[in-house]
Amino acid sequence: MQPLVSVSHLVKEYGSGANRFRALNDVSLDIHAGQVLVLMGPSGSGKTTLISILGGILSATSGSVRIDGREIVGMPESQRPALRRDLFGFIFQGFNLFPALTAEENVAIMCKLKHVPQPARAAANLLESVGLADKRNAYPADLSGGQKQRVAIARALAGHPRILLADEPTAALDSVSGRNVLEILSGLARQNNRAVVIVTHDPRVLEYCDRIVTIEDGRISSDELRRHIPPTPGDIA
């Protein structure tokens, strides 16, 4: 089974000379479609750096990252927006919704960005899929934390990305909302054959994941497979 994401000997350094700091040190990792992978580790361990490189936001210093068969290390900056737009859905700890836009507009703007036909209708369908059909005209300020994160998930799903990258998606949520969000994310991985990568400190996440990768001081210190994912037609042959 070919992985959807293949990371090999990845190194990321910040600064130069005496101030050089290695945030990721020889990280190798494969992520498969249908898998919910949790990245754990103490603050400053390199989790956010890794997810930023996986998402094509940050450039690596060396090593290899192949996404859906495409090498992204060394990819020119001009090609990265299309990579992010076409392959990824992003979910942020602080939701990062546009406060001036309604829930539906927040999702629709991403549908437009991804050239989804009939973006307003697509946005309404995505909101319905996360149980927020009745909140389509609400502004972020009028939504609870859980509702905001569900809007963010609907937005991340615009254009049906193959990989969802979620940074602390439950950190700002109460236990009920957090579980609700995790159920949606794990369902998306399993039913829609996506890879879902979650960066978290939240132990609630563990019961929904298939694999736990722990990073310490820029290195993978443990990689625990909790559930075997059978190969599916969505995997790369």
Partner: protein, 374 residues
């Protein structure tokens, strides 16, 4: 993406009010300062601008139209002999003392013109007739200066340089750059008020044949008549304006005020728009992280600033026009002609969009960690 630009602007009412207040303040400052400067230029030389003479003959070296000295009237007849000159007329502008009903004096300027040619006569007449100036000791003043000159209505008599003067009409809006209002009268009457000898005049105004070669006529006149200076309409206009604008502290101050108004306006708008754009930095970072190109982010930022510019302009120019309107009946002239108003619109767009461009670099070089950590 245009919806994000539009709603970003409108969603936060307080921010919108702050942004628009900044733009409106800057626009009003620029419009009024430049309007005052334009009014200044207009007032400084309106007596020339509204004079239909093609050429002006004066004593040599006059600093401006209000600073002429007497020349022999007989030069008129010599001028008439020059080919291309079709008509000549005497014209006098001279500072005189106007005695108020309470016995105090105001300084004003006699504008004595030839009634038959009409060159140098009043314009914007709102009461009385120019023909009434054929009567002895008759004058026309501007209604903006009624209070200053202690005049209420036609028929009242006062004293100019100790000689009787009877009001026979009023103009509207003929302002004087100096504190001395213009008093129009016939050249014949003016000779009574101005301390000059018989057969003297201050200017000789010439009308030339249609399509005449003015430089050639000037050359012939200078060869024919010694001891004079000759100006075209534009030359005396320019000399007068240059004198008042650059030769006096008042003119320079107004010009500096206009330039400072522009600079302060640019700074205020730049700061306002920059702050408004930076407020949305996190959103632009989110857009970028999710796949928006720098071009798409530029589009949102520029559109947002252009919308702010249009809204600010509508409010700003309305306030400026209201201020201009409120000065219509005062001796302060603020001019805001439509080409200037249009130019200010272009300037506003330019200022807002340039200011937003300053923040674009910040928006497109956001640290990805900022996006992930919110």
């Amino acid at each position: 993406m245009s919806i994000l630009a539009w709603k970003n602007l409108l969603h936060d009412r307080v921010r919108l009010i702050v942004t628009l207040t900044g733009i409106v303040f800057a626009l009003v400052l620029i419009a009024i300062q430049f309007g005052m400067f334009l009014g200044f230029l207009d007032t400084a030389a309106n007596i020339v601008e509204n004079n239909s003479a093609d050429l002006w003959i004066s004593a040599p070296g006059i600093p401006h139209v209000n600073g002429g000295s007497p020349i022999q009237e007989s030069k008129r007849w010599k001028a008439l002999q020059v080919p291309g000159v079709t008509r000549t007329a005497n014209f006098a502008i001279f500072f005189v003392n106007w005695k108020l009903p309470n016995g105090a004096f105001e300084t004003c300027q006699i504008a004595g013109f030839d009634l038959d040619s009409g060159m140098g006569g009043p314009w914007n007449l709102v009461a009385g007739r120019v023909e009434d100036l054929r009567g002895e000791d008759t004058v026309i003043i501007d209604d903006l200066y009624k209070t200053k000159l202690g005049v209420h209505k036609i028929g009242e008599t006062l004293e100019i340089n100790g000689k009787r003067a009877r009001i026979v009409g009023f103009t509207h809006g003929i302002r004087s750059f100096t504190t001395a209002p213009y008093v129009f009268t016939s050249f014949k009457n003016a000779q009574n008020y101005i301390p000059m000898r018989e057969h003297e005049t201050i200017f000789i105004l010439l009308r030339t044949a249609p399509g005449a070669n003015l430089p050639a006529i000037k050359t012939r006149l200078l060869a024919t008549i010694p001891g004079i200076e000759i100006f075209t309409h534009d030359e005396i206009l320019l000399r007068t304006r240059n004198y008042w604008v650059f030769g006096t502290g008042a003119g320079t101050t107004t010009l500096m005020g206009a330039i400072l108004g522009l600079l302060v306006g640019i700074v205020v708008v730049a700061q306002t728009i920059y702050a408004a754009t930076i407020d949305h930095l996190k959103e632009f970072g989110t857009l970028k992280a999710m796949g928006a190109t720098n071009g798409q982010i530029y589009q949102v930022i520029i559109l947002q600033s252009a919308l702010a510019a249009v809204m600010g302009y509508v409010f700003g120019i309305s306030v400026a026009l209201a201020i201009v309107g409120s000065t219509a009946n005062t001796d302060l002239l603020i001019k805001l002609p439509w080409p200037v108003a249009l130019g200010i619109f272009g300037l506003t767009l330019f200022m807002c969009m340039s200011a937003s461009l300053l923040s674009i670099r910040k928006a497109t070089t956001i640290d990805p960690a900022m996006v992930f950590r919110g």
